[in-house]
């Protein structure tokens, strides 16, 4: 079976900084692929390259059998690839419902206003924001804004959802709740590609993980394989043998 998305050899340089270097991976149908790596590893840049916010210097992105490299983000959404932002970007002056209607109106199905409204209400139920639909988006808490990001992206009826740190800054209860939402999304047939720093969550959610460090793919595999990979441990903690060495010293 061909994967839903295939990224090959993608490279982006910002001046002297090689932000993403020759990264290749695939996302399968109904798969949750996690993307982890230390701060500044190039994770969000990779997302931006995939959905066309920035253009790669080299490499290709294929999605649902189509080459979408360098397509602008608005076209990428129409094909069924939606995303959320790490730094939430609610449309402040508009209500929660209107925010989600925008997602439904300009998403994959390009709905008219009336059906979009219906879809938006359904999605808000799904992320438990329905009771706040009339509120201004700017008045939501950070947890609410994160859910709004997810709702807007979901309203586009995507085949693949890119989630950029939807758990960051949430308390344990909220994290638990969001994990449920992400599982529900996958169960409804949507593939998920997510960046996350909350390790326990990403380890339990992901089918596979890609590890990025200094713009390069360090490792790829099941959460268990990745967690045992000495290179990954070194990237996160420095020298993997540091614990043993310290013990010996004492």
């Amino acid at each position: 079976m061909t994967p839903l998305m295939e990224v090959s050899g993608i490279t982006k340089r910002f001046g002297g900084l090689l932000a993403v270097s020759d990264v290749s991976f695939t996302v399968g149908e109904r798969e949750i692929l996690g993307l982890i790596g230390p701060n500044g590893a190039g994770k969000t840049t990779l997302f931006n390259l995939v959905n066309g916010v920035i253009k790669p210097d080299k490499g290709t992105v294929k999605f649902a059998g189509q080459d979408i490299t360098s397509h602008p983000p608005n076209e990428v959404v129409h094909l069924g690839l939606a995303r959320t932002h790490q730094i939430v970007k609610p449309l402040h002056g508009m209500s929660v419902l209107e925010n989600v209607i925008v997602g439904a109106c300009f998403g994959r199905d390009y709905l008219r206003l009336r059906p979009a409204r219906k879809v938006a209400m359904e999605v808000l139920e799904r992320v438990n924001l329905a009771d706040q639909s009339d509120k201004a988006a700017s008045s939501l808490t950070i947890a609410g804004k994160k859910r709004l990001e997810v709702a807007r992206a979901l309203a586009a009826n995507p085949k693949l959802l890119l989630l950029d740190e939807v758990l960051a800054g949430l308390n344990p209860t909220e994290i638990e709740y969001m994990i449920g939402i992400v599982r529900g999304i996958r169960d409804s047939g949507i593939s998920v590609f997510m960046i996350e720093h909350v390790m326990q969550a990403i380890m339990s959610l992901s089918d596979r993980l890609v590890v990025l460090s200094f713009g390069q793919k360090l490792a790829e595999g099941t959460p268990l394989e990745v967690a045992r990979d000495p290179q990954v441990i070194e990237a996160y903690l420095g020298d993997p043998d540091i614990a043993t060495k310290l013990k010996e010293k004492n």
Binding site: N51, V53, P72, P73, N74, V77, H78, R83, H85, K89, P90, L91, H92, G93, M94, E98, I101, V102, G103, C105, F106, G107, Y110, R112, L113, A116, R152, A156
Partner: protein
């Protein structure tokens, strides 16, 4: 959908009153006052499409009005075209000009876009002031005989008045139609956060160019009618930077982003201005008042009069667009 909207009927009632007031008792001086009010409403409403709906501040909006005036006057007076046709051609021509221009300058954002619009105003003014067919800096005149086609000069003034009121009503209906449409929703998304809007699927480049072009159409038509009525046009009155700035004051005063607010601000500001202009002690003082007013509105009531009304009567938000 728009047919069931209460604001549509407010607009129509407003237009009917504007027609009836001077007609009743053949009040010519009232008509001359009201045509300026109508022009202010037209300029503020169309400027609102850019500033209020899309979040792009256009300092050079008056370019559309002036260019429309030139094209209309040139066709109607020099080439002897029918006035309505000449005005429509002026509207279409200026819209196309704006579309091409917009695809270029709308790549700029925020202050840079605003600066570019000032540049356009200056550039167009200088071009026209050196353009031979349009009479360079002396401009164009309508020969008195040209009005014969409209049944003589006196009659022509009434005809242009009714046409301007029609354009005013159309401006407001256009604003309302866009506001309650999917297109309008896309514009609002761009206003709130353009990057987020694009990621949500809004084709911002095309949307912005279209609204820039649309916001040029009716002001150009109005310019053609108004300068034809006045009988003359020259580069300094056609492209008056002050009027462009005052358009922004009108919009802020009434409440940007709302159909009623733009019209209300345009109308009220014009009344205030003509009062100050004609009062002997305060002549030319109106710009000081305009500046002060803008400051007060921006600081204390950023939503303008309509925003203030929304806060006073929250339910009005659902009715008054």
């Amino acid at each position: 959908m728009i047919l069931r909207h209460p604001v549509l009927y407010i607009i129509l009632a407003f237009a009917v009153i504007m027609v009836w007031l001077p007609l009743h008792g053949n009040n010519v001086s009232l008509r001359e006052d009201l045509i300026l009010v109508a022009i202010a409403v037209i300029l503020a409403s169309n400027l609102n499409l850019m500033i209020g709906y899309t979040g792009y501040v256009n300092f050079g909006h008056i370019v559309f009005y002036g260019l429309g005036g030139y094209i209309g006057l040139y066709l109607a007076a020099e080439k002897d075209w029918n006035l309505v046709l000449a005005s429509l051609i002026a509207g279409v021509g200026v819209s196309l000009f704006a579309l091409v221009l917009g695809l270029g300058i709308l790549r700029l954002r925020g202050a840079y876009f605003a600066l570019a619009t000032i540049g356009i105003l200056v550039a167009v003014q200088s071009f026209v002031a050196n353009f031979d067919p349009w009479g360079r800096s002396t401009g164009l005149y309508v020969s008195f005989g040209a009005y014969e086609k409209l049944g003589g000069a006196r009659h022509a003034l009434w005809v242009t008045y009714f046409l301007v009121i029609g354009v005013m009503a159309l401006s407001m209906i256009l604003s309302l139609g866009i506001k309650i449409s999917k297109f309008g929703l896309g514009l609002f998304a761009i206003r709130e956060d353009e990057d987020a809007a694009v990621v949500l699927g809004v084709n911002a480049t095309v949307y912005k160019a279209i609204i820039y072009s649309v916001s040029a159409f009716l002001p150009a038509v109005a310019g053609a009618l108004m300068f034809y009525k006045n009988g003359m046009i020259d580069p300094s009155i056609a492209f008056e930077f002050m009027l462009s700035l005052e358009g922004i004051v009108m919009l802020m005063l009434g409440g940007k982003g709302t159909v009623i607010g733009a019209a209300l601000g345009g109308g009220l500001y014009e009344k205030l201005r003509s009062y100050l202009l004609t009062s002997p002690k305060l002549s030319n003082f109106h710009l000081v008042i305009a500046g002060g007013l803008l400051l007060v509105v921006v600081l204390f009531a950023p939503g303008g009069l309509i925003g203030w009304l929304y806060r006073l009567v929250p339910r009005s938000r659902k009715v008054l667009e």
